[in-house]
């Protein structure tokens, strides 16, 4: 590297990270190293939880971008997880190489979001939330009735994913695949937010009129974040389909969309670290509750009632005590 380009690089990096953010960057690297050792220490059942956590985290990073930067709430984000999962599943069952089937998942999810986003993003606030919720209900009923999607039974007998001749047939393989996925979406989100486009997005969150008057194409950017958030959820869905090997409409309930929202809000909107922390926290809490609710003597509806109750309580607690979410609050007070 020449001296000049080295200096350019340094200027570039220091422009991305002010001195305080330098510290944050080291946190990131340390965190990633620690987390990447975790799968080795987990029992088989816990590995499944770890994978599901990572998949949620991928979707939540996208949702947090959407909610934090485009100022839009999606109550149907799991639609895109479902679209990604079914895309991978259907393609793989129709003899597409599994890796290609996986790559198609985020693309189809993003295209779907772009398609529905044009009319939906004209709506504001609660209207968008309801529209996305309606979208998911429609999608679930279509999938439940469609013969080509296996109806209510769904798709079964998916092959394992294989990458360059290496077949991912153990939970541990998927744990690392998911980690790579989380890293990828976090990096994409980070670079996007720090770029010219990201500045436009952050600007329109608090000053739409002035942003637009500065040349920010507000509608196009909103659509872009919506599509990106859908792509992240879609990629998570694609990995999910290969991990479990079967899919059904019931795997993507509205409760999953709500879980995503709670994760994003608890961690802190517009914060990548917040999205990851929120996903981890909620997953662990839900896991503990499920263990509790499936004790002998508990009614069969206990798990879902308990999770709804906990989501509600957590949302209320966050709104009351840490309205910006955990990570942004910690960052501000440090």
């Amino acid at each position: 590297m020449t001296e000049r380009s080295e200096r350019h690089d340094r200027v570039f990096w220091s422009s991305l990270f002010s001195s305080r953010q330098d510290g944050i960057r080291w946190w990131w690297i340390a965190g990633a190293l620690i987390v990447s050792a975790v799968p080795l220490l987990l029992a088989p059942g816990q590995l499944t939880t770890f994978v599901l956590l990572g998949l949620s985290a991928m979707a939540v990073v996208g949702l947090s971008l959407l909610m934090g930067y485009a100022g839009q709430v999606s109550l149907g984000q799991a639609s895109f997880t479902a679209i990604g999962a079914y895309t991978s599943g259907l393609l793989a069952l129709h003899h597409t190489p599994p890796l290609l089937a996986l790559l198609a998942a985020p693309i189809v999810a993003a295209l779907a979001a772009a398609g529905v986003g044009v009319p939906i993003l004209r709506l504001r606030g609660h209207q968008l939330a309801f529209a996305t919720l309606a979208l998911q209900l429609i999608l679930l009923s279509v999938l439940g009735d469609a013969d080509w999607a296996g109806g209510a039974v769904g798709l079964q007998g998916l092959p394992y994913l294989s990458i360059g001749g290496f077949e991912l047939d153990a939970d541990l393989d998927y744990a690392y695949l998911v980690l790579a996925g989380v890293l990828l979406v976090s990096l994409i989100a980070h670079r996007l937010v720090r770029s010219r486009v990201g500045r436009g997005l952050r600007a329109l969150a608090t000053g739409e009129t002035a942003a637009e008057a500065s040349g920010v194409p507000v509608g196009a950017y909103r659509l872009l974040v919506f599509a990106v958030s859908a792509a992240f959820a879609g990629l998570a869905g694609g990995i999910y389909s290969f991990f479990l090997g079967y899919l059904a409409p019931g795997s993507f309930p509205v409760l999953l969309s709500i879980e995503y929202v709670v994760m994003a809000v608890v961690g802190g909107l517009g914060s990548i670290g917040g999205a990851l922390l929120g996903a981890a926290l909620i997953t662990v809490v839900v896991q503990l509750l499920t263990t509790l609710a499936t004790q002998p003597g508990m009614p069969s509806y206990a798990p879902s009632v308990l999770s709804y109750a906990v989501y509600a309580l957590l949302l209320i607690a966050v709104v009351l005590f840490v309205p910006k979410g955990i990570v942004p609050t910690l960052r501000r007070s440090s």
């Binding site: 996007l192 010219r196 486009v197 600007a203 608090t206 000053g207 002035a210 942003a211 500065s214 194409p217």
Partner: protein, 257 residues
């Protein structure tokens, strides 16, 4: 004035809000390099006129021509791309961003790098980022905000927030700059610094449309003045001409003299 075609031509601009006529049949033009002031009492329709030009509001009737073409159907961000920049009277700064980042948003109109270039970290993106930083640094310097560059914008005192709007508008290197009461909330020295900046910009050949209440400010800067009252043009001319105009005196004093 007839030899050079106007940069901006507003013809018959009319805007109603329900029963209220905010603007009625307003004609106005800005020649290249001209500083044109729009004055009038509160509620005269000055901000509405600016929003019609910027595209934030749609006219009930009338046309807006810019650089030889009609622009009244263009979205605001497209007008910005053609070189129209506005510092609004009542717009907040972009929250959660530093002063520099706020100003960098203003460069959007003259830059192109998209999301893919940014995510892949392409050289094109890096080059443009460096360029944007430079543009922003220059705009901050001109607006006297360099000392505040790394502060959170929402923590700025009001005067600096006004200057920040001007810096953001300048950052994209506009051809036509619209300033809606840029000096309101500024104290003496800040006010004369702003007047100095506008004078400098005029010297560089920038076309400026300016709303300002401060008479001394207008007298010093404006080549021509258009006076609005209750949505209508009641006078136009040089400052010396309009200051003695009976209609203007009536409008400002309220009632017949």
């Amino acid at each position: 004035m007839t030899a050079v075609p106007a940069l901006l031509t507003v013809t018959g601009a009319t805007r109603r809000f329900g029963g209220v006529h905010a603007l009625r049949d307003v004609d106005l033009d800005v020649a290249p390099g001209e500083t044109h002031a729009v004055i009038g009492p509160n509620g005269a329709g000055k901000s509405t006129l600016f929003k019609l030009i910027g595209g934030q509001l749609v006219a009930t009737a009338g046309t807006i021509g810019y650089d030889g073409q009609r622009i009244d159907r263009l979205a605001p961000h497209r007008r910005a791309r053609r070189g129209i920049a506005i510092a609004f009277q009542d717009s907040p700064v972009f929250g959660g961003m530093t002063v520099t980042e706020n100003v960098m948003v203003g460069a959007h109109a003259v830059t192109r790098a998209g999301p893919v270039a940014a995510v892949l970290g392409l050289p094109r993106h890096r080059r443009e980022e460096a360029e944007i930083r430079e543009l922003a640094a220059r705009a901050l310097d001109r607006a006297g905000l360099t000392a505040w560059a790394d502060r959170p914008a929402d923590a700025l005192p009001l005067g600096q927030q006004r200057a920040l709007q001007v810096a953001r508008a300048l950052c994209g290197g506009p051809r036509l700059l619209l300033l809606d009461e840029p000096a309101s909330g500024l104290r003496g020295p800040e006010r004369s610094a702003l007047a100095g900046l506008i004078e400098q910009l005029r010297g560089e050949g920038l076309s400026i449309l300016l709303v300002e209440h401060d008479v001394a400010f207008v007298a010093r800067l404006a080549d021509r003045v258009t006076v609005l009252d209750l949505g209508r043009v009641i006078a136009r001319g040089t400052f010396a001409e309009i200051r003695t105009d009976p209609a203007v005196i009536t409008a400002y004093l309220g009632g017949p003299p």
